[in-house]
């Protein structure tokens, strides 16, 4: 658009000095047209793909704002004729799982009580691990790390029952503490890898200089490494928060119905067989559960992207 506007203006300017340049031929890049067929294909394909990714979110929002009669009549893609927030209220405060009818709010607070401590504990452990592995290698440290990384690929189902036994022996089975411990354990491989890679990428001279000045393990960690690793802390916080909030398997295995996290409760509400299916309430509940990771994602923006890319490519 703006190209066509500038063309007549620059026209005379070029012709004024054209004489000397004519033999040299056109200089520089030829301005590319905005609406070239190549661009149409690129944007068309991207737009089409974007549609596939956006439709489910749209359907969720639209459905959750409709009344049940309208859902039975209309199609799922049409916008609501009458906007109602009743499904949201019902999903939050009244939806039933089994005999409890206090909605998703209970699951929400359970998830908060699980996620916050789990994120803090797992990142604290993983950052120290990563630091030790990057700067204070000892005999066998790489072996433990290798076990940890390989362990990240072992299906959880293989280790779940032994953990149930261990937690039962410790008296933590079915409690929130038990689940927090489990999240810290299974977050460890990826988080440790993330921190180790980050600390390895820091200039070694920093560490050496601190050593020469007589700083020890914890001193270097708290006074040099921590202040420098804010980005990686934010990144791993984002990853852990969404990961733990979204967990289902551990929630269902290691908690009891009254401490179920939000995802488990959501699944129980939507997939319960008794009663009439209220699709609008279901979608409102689904959106509510997805809201926390979505907010984290949209707020963190490029940091989320950088985090997963850095963690994966360097590893």
């Amino acid at each position: 658009m703006d190209k066509s506007l500038t063309m007549p203006v620059s026209g005379p300017a070029i012709s004024a000095q054209a004489g000397s340049r004519l033999e040299a031929g056109p200089q520089g890049k030829r301005p590319r047209k905005r609406l070239s067929s190549r661009n149409i294909i690129v944007y068309g394909a991207l737009g089409f793909a974007a549609l596939y990714y956006l439709v489910p979110l749209y359907v969720m929002v639209v459905t959750s704002l409709k009344g049940m009669p309208e859902i039975r009549l209309g199609n799922i893609f049409s916008p609501p004729m009458e906007i109602t927030f009743e499904p949201w209220v019902k999903a939050w405060a009244e939806a039933c799982t089994g005999l409890n009818c206090d909605g998703l709010s209970r699951g929400f607070w359970n998830s908060v009580r699980i996620t916050v401590p789990s994120v803090i504990v797992s990142i604290a452990i993983a950052s120290v691990n990563g630091y030790a592995l990057a700067n204070w290698r000892f005999k066998g440290s790489e072996i433990f790390f290798t076990i940890l990384i390989v362990g990240a690929f072992i299906p959880y189902q293989v280790m779940i029952y032994p953990i149930v036994i261990v937690l039962r022996e410790m008296g933590l089975y079915g409690t929130l503490y038990g689940l927090i411990l489990v999240h810290s354990i299974f977050g460890m491989p990826i988080q440790t890898l993330l921190f180790r890679n980050y600390f390895v990428s820091l200039p070694e001279e920093l560490f050496k200089a601190a050593r020469i000045d007589g700083a020890g393990f914890w001193q270097i960690y708290f006074r040099i490494m921590l202040p420098m690793s804010l980005p990686i802390f934010v990144v791993s916080m984002i990853l852990q928060t969404t990961g733990i909030w979204n967990d289902f398997l551990f929630g269902v295995v290691f908690t009891r119905p009254d401490t179920y996290p939000m995802t488990v409760q959501l699944n129980n509400i939507v997939n319960s067989v008794q009663g009439v299916k209220e699709y609008n309430v279901n979608m409102a509940a689904t959106l509510l559960t997805g809201a926390v990771p979505l907010i984290v994602y949209f707020v963190s923006g490029r940091l989320f992207v950088r985090g997963i890319a850095a963690g994966a490519v360097k590893g």
Partner: protein, 300 residues
Amino acid sequence: MAAHTQPGRPNQLFRNLNSKIASIPMMLTAVVIFLGGTIWTVVYSFTNSKLLPRLSFVGLEQYERLWDTPRWIVSIQNLATYGCLSLIFSLTIGFLLAALMDQKIRFENTFRTIFLYPFALSFIVTGLVWQWILNPEFGVQSVVRSLGWTSFTFDPLYNSDIVIYGILIAALWQGTGLVMCLMLAGLRGIDEDIWKAARVDGIPMWKTYLFIIIPMMRPVFVTTLVIIASGIVRIYDLVVAQTSGGPGIASDVPAKYVYDYMFFAQNLGQGFAASTMMLLAVAIIIVPWAYLEFGGRKRG
């Protein structure tokens, strides 16, 4: 700190003492949970544990029973179908999207945000949304029918022959954004001069991608492949949310089989044997990769 300022003979055990103390959680996790737990499960898979784990060995009986169970066979077939298609599609779509994003386009951030947001959502949310969209009574099928094509049938979640494809659609929606991001990071890591050289030589763009860029991105592809593959084997939540394994057992997967036998059917031995088979499947993927990657790194 103390270990290093201490005078006297250095003791091998006390070298880096603080580092060792700090790594205790990691060592415990690695040895007790990851190694110990895995060995424990494998050992108990050779017993006839029912309600409680008991050490009375029955040899391979649990495995024989496992492979005689139709439900397990269905799970394995589902996993194989889902796994192959999911690998092919997510790598292809992910790379294509990344290549499109790499054309110096406008609104790159907007597109990236759109492609990646499903990855922030849980499999439960993903499964429930797609359960609703694929609902034959209200979803895509009914919308297309109301447009006039009355014989249109698209009910993957209620048709046991194609139910796994319904799950695949949802899984791709959730996961391809991540693949796109990894691939894009890989593409951005490629030296601009390579592109210039290819252009000077007059190599068409698709050929440059196919024969120069993709081979150069081998490490990115390998990493992505391993990430996707290990995710495939443990697929569980998505199936639970979207179909609960139904209709019947048509969309059952090994992870769900394990869970049901361990915690509902009170048949621990079966659960252990099935989870050991899952472990074996992962080992087949991981061991060659780990050997190549870590073995190679040590030499280099």
